[in-house]
């Protein structure tokens, strides 16, 4: 078990190294001088040079690269050029918002998607199935900024049920929940659409397997066949896909955060791009990749729980 986790983590190291290098290169090639961002529109070339020196941007690229690699591997991404605070503490300040949103959307997605998917599979080509397929198609066709704007118009502006500013006070659980509803619905419905489809097709496939037919032929009650054997087999593809969708969720959270004005990782990455905050951009990209690697690892481990055969492999 522990060996498996360690092996997987070790296997992720080349990926992370490649990511770090890529990130370093990307960030240097982006035009725009951070010194000018700091000094504003009346800066003289002399002042700009002074600031570049203070930020260490005048050093040779190779020196900057190894410096970056060295500290990144120790988990130190340096200080933000804009706020002058450590990147990690900046990220930590907004991470709860992103985690809230991701988890809540995931829960909404699974809570709606799995039962509806199973229901649809059991009624293959029936009214329920057609409805579920049509609605899930519509759901996954909605760009989140469009569904977000629609929800905001309806619930924020028209019915005034939820606040329009999404930046919640983290110490007030009620406030936190209240402001989470609309953004989580936006992403949760998208997730539900994806998960419904995957669940449906996985269930269909699992119900079609030989041993399932055998079980049914042997007289095992239908309900038991479906819920115990069918779902157990369908769980694997569902978990895989849910894991994959965390990436989609993280990407789409940029849009949700803009529409609902919520703090979060997506918002700081857009800010860092605009302000040419190199260290922040580097740190964020690495953190994004790291999150995805971790999610993949968790997905793999869940395989073992669901299907003991995988663990042996």
């Amino acid at each position: 078990m522990l060996g498996f986790v360690l092996r997987r983590l070790l296997a992720a190291i080349p990926t992370l190294l490649a990511v770090l290098t890529l990130v370093f290169v990307i960030v240097r090639v982006v035009p725009g001088d951070p010194a000018l961002v700091i000094l504003g529109d009346q800066a003289t070339p002399e002042a700009t040079a002074a600031v570049r020196e203070r930020l260490g941007l005048d050093r040779p690229l190779l020196v900057q690269y190894f410096d970056f690699l060295g500290s990144a591997l120790q988990g130190d991404f340096g200080n933000s050029l804009v706020t002058n605070r450590p990147i990690l503490s900046e990220v930590r300040a907004v991470l709860p918002h992103t985690v809230d949103l991701t988890l809540a959307s995931m829960v909404i997605g699974v809570a709606i998607g799995v039962p509806v998917g199973i229901w649809a599979a059991l009624n293959r080509n029936g009214v329920i199935d057609v409805m579920a397929r049509l609605l899930s198609l519509i759901g996954l066709s909605f760009p989140v900024f469009v569904s977000g704007v629609f929800l905001l118009l309806a619930f924020g502006l028209h019915w005034r049920l939820f606040p329009v500013i999404g930046s919640a006070d983290l110490n007030d659980p009620l406030d936190r929940l209240h402001k989470l509803v609309l953004p989580a619905m936006t992403l949760g419905l998208l997730m539900a659409a994806y998960i419904t489809r995957v669940t449906r097709s996985a269930m269909l496939q699992s119900l079609g397997e030989d041993y399932m037919r055998t079980a049914r032929a042997k007289g095992v009650p239908r309900r038991r066949v479906v819920w115990v054997h069918g779902l157990r087999n369908a769980a694997l593809p569902i978990v895989t896909v849910v894991g994959l969708y965390v990436g989609i969720l993280l990407g789409n959270s940029v849009l949700t955060e803009i529409v609902f004005n919520r703090p979060g990782l997506g918002k700081i990455i857009v800010g860092a791009l605009n302000q040419r905050d190199y260290p922040m951009l580097q740190g964020l990209l690495v953190i994004y990749c790291f999150l995805i690697v971790i999610v993949n690892l968790i997905t793999d481990l869940l395989y073992g729980v669901i299907d003991p055969r995988v663990k042996a492999a």
Binding site: S141, Q205, Y288, C289
Partner: protein, 277 residues
């Protein structure tokens, strides 16, 4: 093939999707003739007009006709997504086939690079690339293609690996066929359908990513109309003129929905597992 097509058309959802796509493609192609106004022309006096009257869908904050901008905007959405997916299919497909066919260290290395690409959320990757290259039509195509290369490489690699071991490929090799010939004459046709189904579904994703990037402010430059950009501008005027955000939002939804319906139909018709029942 005919049977396949018949199967595709028999599904009413696919038919509806194809109809939607066709309508939007027609609107895009005919935009210069059917758009009532020049999409960039500003009539400052009649800015933020509600739908109806001289401007059937109203005007934006510069007094530009929304209907005309929607029609012209369809061109951008379609061009960018078609272009990006074409690039991704060609590059990703080739990489995947080569990796699967050659195998060994090459396969390992290439798939490692693909894993790196896959470890960024695609919207974030697109965001960085466009910010890096500067927002214009070509760069959008490049950015969106980049996010789709890795999935296509994966989809092409797996069946290639399986086919490599199959009797007819072995036979071809025994007959002394060159590698390119085996790849393109024997393997490619066999993986085509899977790649095409995926391409149709990824078209939908590409339309959405393009719109999302425009919404963030990294779209094709003004005065060119894009649906994502129009939604964004509309959002900023949502209290004065909600239709500015709703109309282009609906347009994006319809196109993505149409593409997804077609893609779904194609997949159901080609998926052997679903076919047997």
């Amino acid at each position: 093939m005919k049977a396949l097509l018949a199967k595709v058309w028999a599904n009413p959802m696919t038919f509806l999707g194809a109809l939607l796509c066709l309508a939007i493609v027609l609107a895009a192609v005919l935009a210069p003739w059917i758009a009532p106004y020049d999409p960039a022309d500003q009539d400052i006096i009649s800015r933020l007009q509600p739908p109806g009257g001289a401007y059937p869908f109203g005007t934006d904050q510069f007094g530009r006709d929304i209907l005309s901008r929607l029609l012209w905007g369809a061109r951008i959405s379609l061009t960018v997504s078609l272009g990006a997916i074409a690039v991704a299919v060609v590059i990703g497909g080739t990489i995947g086939m080569l990796a699967g066919y050659i195998g060994g260290t090459f396969d390992l290395l290439v798939m490692q690079v693909m894993d790196v690409l896959l470890s960024f959320p695609s919207l974030i990757l697109g965001l960085i690339v466009v910010a890096l290259l500067g927002p214009d039509l070509i760069n959008l195509v490049v950015a969106i293609a980049l996010t789709a290369i890795a999935p296509f490489a994966r989809v092409a690699r797996a069946p290639t690996m399986a086919l490599k071991e199959r009797a007819f490929v072995e036979a071809g090799r025994a007959l002394g066929f060159s590698h390119p010939r085996i790849l393109f004459r024997h393997i490619l046709p066999n993986i085509m359908s899977e790649v095409m189904v995926m391409a149709s579904l990824w078209m939908a994703t590409a339309v959405r990513v393009e719109a999302s990037l425009s919404f963030i402010g990294l779209g094709v430059k003004p005065p060119t109309a894009t649906w994502g950009g129009m939604t964004r501008d509309g959002f900023e005027n949502i209290l004065d003129a909600p239709w500015l955000a709703i109309l282009p939002g609906l347009a994006i939804l319809l196109l993505v929905l149409g593409l997804n319906m077609v893609g779904d139909g194609l997949r159901d018709a080609t998926d052997p597992r679903l076919r047997q029942e």
